[in-house]
Point group: C2
Chain length 243, copies 2
């Protein structure tokens, strides 16, 4: 059985200029792993319509789910919703259900509904809304594309709204074996163990700190017993240098 | 005049699984901005040969420079050098110049040169080496593709090695105007100012903290006088709500 696949599209000049350090990729990656969905690719593009449309179309055809982050606010550089509509060839306009959510929230908070805010009710035909418990303005799901905010607190809330609707695979189990040998000494025996266990993924991540040099070897797979068995093989192979 | 363009390719299952939070994208983005090079796209792919080769070829044909991060260590999952060679159709093997650098460093440190470590001397024909002042094992530049380590301290050192060789454009100047109004109130006047100044890029980044709601409006461009002029227009437009 193979797990469902996902991709992420981060939209925003502020990430590519180095002004803002993206936090959403790391969050989504962790959530996908918990759900048993394999995040296979992330792309970051600027606030440019043709770049966004091309990336949406490349990713949605290739992976089971696509998650976008950013570009759904009220300002002129927020063009994600229109670009997703264009990618699907769908009509987009202010939609009554989204407008009602915004109107109710603004009325309650004493905020004026103006033309800019109304932009956040632009939703493509055929999309379903994603709840935004933080600031009301909804995201939306268009077929397999989930369009979400870039502000991390809202992005995280939207991921939580969407998560129960996704069909996950077997969650990824991982085990880490800490080997107090430099990676160059670990690599040989590790390659043999990896070749013998093709159904788990084994990665090696070197460290070099006050305690010396070493490698964290991470075994990942959906079969917990097999992951544990490989971890034991590693502990035997590096006996005396584990921990 | 348009600035040179760049893309980044981050390679590694540990990023996509959420085990590690990438730090190199943020670093490279800041360095490119300082050099006046427009970072236009970032892709993150897993340790999968066909995914790496395809991404290298897509990006190198499209942007002036490509920077890769990750997958050049001694273990079985370090396949970046071979994939870059395959992307260019270049022959790859242990190269004497790289082997000599490793041998000298290991001899000095009393570390054994073994088969796994020798993998780090695999360099495609036609590539030039990138200095690694941290742990000796070099990166390499193949035409417009700069292949660098994933460990942040080494990645940063390699970017510093490559930076003087890149021809930059006009560095991006930015000015930030902090407006103490919610983004929905800022958006309307902002759109007009942005439309009147097409040669600068204007982004709006909302905040909502103990001091209240507001928007940081960032003006970016290569013409310092124009950036300042637009900043002044914004301060006038939002007089009483700036600071």
């Amino acid at each position: 059985m193979t797990n469902p696949t996902a991709a992420m599209l981060v939209i925003g000049d502020e990430i590519l200029s180095g002004r803002t350090r993206d936090a959403n990729m790391y969050h989504l990656a962790g959530e996908m792993t918990k759900l048993g969905i394999d995040l296979k690719e992330v792309r970051v593009v600027s606030d440019d319509a043709s770049a966004i449309i091309e990336a949406v179309n490349a990713l949605r055809g290739r992976y089971d789910s696509v998650f976008t982050s950013g570009g759904i606010g009220p300002t002129h550089d927020d063009i994600t919703a229109d670009c997703v509509a264009a990618a699907f060839g769908a009509h987009i306009d202010v939609r009554e259900d989204a407008r009602a959510i915004l109107a109710e929230s603004y009325a309650r908070r004493g905020i004026e509904m103006n033309e800019a805010r109304l932009r956040m009710a632009r939703i493509p035909d055929g999309a379903t809304l994603i709840d935004n418990p933080v600031s009301a303005a909804p995201g939306f799901t268009m077929e397999n594309v989930h369009v979400m905010a870039g502000v991390p607190s809202i992005f995280q809330a939207m991921v939580a709204s969407v998560a129960p609707l996704l069909s996950g695979g077997a969650p990824l189990i991982s085990a880490t074996v800490r080997v107090t040998l430099p990676e160059g000494d670990v690599a040989g025996p590790l390659a043999k163990i990896a070749a013998d266990a093709p159904s788990v993924s084994i990665g090696s991540y070197p460290f070099n700190n006050a305690e010396g040099m070493g490698s964290n070897v991470v075994i990942r797979g959906s079969d917990a017993a097999l992951v544990e068995e490989v971890a034991q093989s590693l502990k035997l192979a590096f006996a005396g240098f584990v921990g």
